[in-house]
Symmetry: C2
Subunit: 408 residues, 2 copies
């Protein structure tokens, strides 16, 4: 601590702070925001604390609010509220944008810039930091991790994932009970464009040996419609029912998302819209109904509930989301720039620690499910994944089942 | 109590009990089941306690389990578990079925028959009771209410509704926050074939004056696509965003469900399948996208999560669901047959009491949202509805919002 303070004193920089949120909301992104704000208020180097509305859009338009004017009670209430309280944006800064942003930072004497989001967000922070360096304007640029997809590199897992995964596990847990009571085939479409972590978390729903999800399809493995229908039929013949968890991002052997044949809309990052539509689930249900000749086939798309539902936040996720905000501020007081990452200790009991890594290490590319987490046939996860995910999601409700002693 | 005991002693009937679950699962139907079983164990008139698997299907096939063989711990765990632990069925008894069921009841000396479900279930109990009477076999037939749709006649509200409504309110609460952070039009399709109660419960999500749902469409009013698009556009122009809650059962002026143009499957009651598909949401989203020229339009169908999600059970609902099971057994010990109903006391503080009414009063027809609960234009609910629904759903999470003092 003494060393760190020494380091801090050497590099002391006085000025204002700007913080913004980007990308899809999560259940705990506001904890990172409030964690950073409350930490910032403890340090005299940080003067005014601005919040930009709707990410870089708000910076470009100088649309700021004064976060020092918010009461402690409001800050605490916002921290416990899902979604992005400052508003967010799906917009990647162009080079022109960055020059304009830099002018704005100078104009408001912003010396501490924190941007909460995924890898595109880290990339934006990186570009702004690079441009600032060129002009000789000292501004500490930090990325605070957030993504329900859990696809940020360098991180053991990301804030937002644990709570979304908890929603998914609970949802499939209930759905498995529903399907057991009223048998048929049930397909649940779960978020995750390129990474299958969220869909994989559905496996935590299993309590009894015959519990669903019976099949899990991830974007990490090429999706074959024939294999899918065969798999479903095989489970159905054995159990008289089948619950399937499918990632919205499942793609064929050529890497073409199965759903892109049906939806055309793209955002400014060039990403095809996969959520907010029931198209993929309905397509898969129709295939099973016609090819496997099973009459009761249903599909639900969990949709935005996975990232904004207010009542199932994982305690671990909540704590860590707060802490990455705190750590970012602490790092900014003694470093130029970076991205806060979560590392897991190799201890038996779940424990984490935080580090600050170069922005570009998080900005470039995304992480996927490691091979060891997916079973050989590519239709389930492994025990290693369950061990990995359990502490992030937390304890799930007790699920009772009758012993069911028959009558002669 | 003395009078009731006297009545009970006069009509004492000794024999076995059979209990079954029917129709769509709910989050609390197992509480009614376990409540009835635990009450039954207190009365010496009731000897063996059988559970029929998958409703009347299990009775016809003599597929019973011995509920006296279940431990107290298992019973308690099952009570806290969503969905129908005995399995359920969507099958209405034919006259032939009823004669067969009666034979089975005689064979197993069943003198107490409890059937948990909606109005079709009450109707089945009624038919079986009538047939039994004709043959002179004394069996006490009771209907225990359950339906997330809240559409049972005679009841102020039904067990299962409060918890499903809680899920809906929480879901739309989160969705409104999501939509506020990333503006556009969001359409949420909510369960409810003929009754709009569940969709209406989305209104409980509102905390701040500009919160969604901004529009609510119920099956009780004819749905006009033109009016819908106009309404959405009007809200969107005012707020820059719009959250819409739509019942899956919305129908045109001729009473034809909007979605039936797309889905053909029907169950054995002749009901069209409205759930387990994203078709209606996608259809409405496409209309808004094309007719109102709004680019960011999303639709989610809440689906089966509404009736089986394990983590958001309403405390009031849980308590009442247990109690209807208890009351049914108590009534069966002193009456021939009936349906347990929940009545609300006209007190300021929410209080209920239970009554037993003739089966046919619940069996015939369903309830709808009263006119006083729907606003004049038919695109929202009234304060009277909110006052009605609030105590059933319970307290919702605190939602924080920044005061948002701007920077000059």
């Amino acid at each position: 601590m003494t060393d760190k303070r020494g380091d801090l004193m050497k590099r002391q920089l006085r000025g204002n702070m700007l913080i913004a949120q980007s990308g899809g909301p999560s259940m705990v992104i506001n904890r990172s925001l409030v964690g950073a704000v409350i930490e910032a208020k403890k340090h005299k180097e940080i003067q005014r604390i601005y919040g930009a509305l709707n990410g870089i859009k708000g910076i470009l338009e100088e649309n700021f609010i004064d976060l020092r004017k918010e009461t402690k009670a409001v800050l605490q209430a916002v921290a416990g509220t899902p979604s992005s309280a400052l508003g967010t944006v799906r917009k990647k800064a162009t080079h022109e944008n960055c020059l304009k942003i830099l002018e704005v930072l100078k104009k408001y004497n912003v010396r501490y810039f924190f941007y909460i989001g995924g890898n595109d967000t880290a990339d934006n922070a990186h570009i702004i930091s690079e441009e600032a360096k060129k002009t000789g304007f000292e501004v500490r640029c930090f990325h605070i991790p957030k993504t329900i997809d859990n696809d940020l590199r360098e991180n053991d897992h990301t804030p937002g994932f644990g709570s979304a995964a908890r929603f998914v596990a609970l949802g499939v847990m209930g759905d498995n009970l529903d399907n057991r009571a009223l048998p048929g085939v049930k397909i649940d479409v779960i978020m995750g464009r390129n990474a299958g972590f969220l869909t994989a978390a559905s496996a935590l729903a299993r309590v009894y040996p015959d519990d669903g999800p019976h099949l899990i399809y991830l974007p990490e493995r090429p999706f074959s419609m024939t294999q899918f229908v065969d798999d479903v039929l095989s489970v159905y013949k054995k159990l008289g029912r089948c619950v399937v968890a499918v990632s919205e991002g499942i793609s064929d052997e050529n890497g073409t998302p199965i759903v892109t044949k049906f939806i055309k809309e793209v955002d400014s990052h060039g990403n095809v819209q996969l959520s907010g539509s029931g198209a993929l689930g309905d397509l898969l249900a129709t295939e099973v109904r016609t090819k496997a000749q099973i009459s009761r086939v249903r599909a639900d798309t969990f949709g935005y509930l996975q990232r904004s539902f207010p009542a199932v936040i994982s305690a671990t996720d909540a704590k860590e989301a707060w802490q990455v905000g705190v750590e970012a501020v602490r790092c900014a007081l003694r470093m130029e720039r970076g991205s806060i990452v979560i590392r897991r200790k190799p201890t038996k009991k779940y424990q984490v620690y935080f580090e600050c890594v170069p922005l570009k290490r998080v900005a470039k590319g995304t992480a996927k499910m490691p091979v060891k987490f997916i079973n050989k046939p590519g239709n389930d996860v492994t025990k290693l994944f369950l061990d990995y995910a359990k502490p992030l999601v937390g304890n799930l409700p007790v699920i009772g089942r009758f012993k069911g002693v028959g009558i002669k």
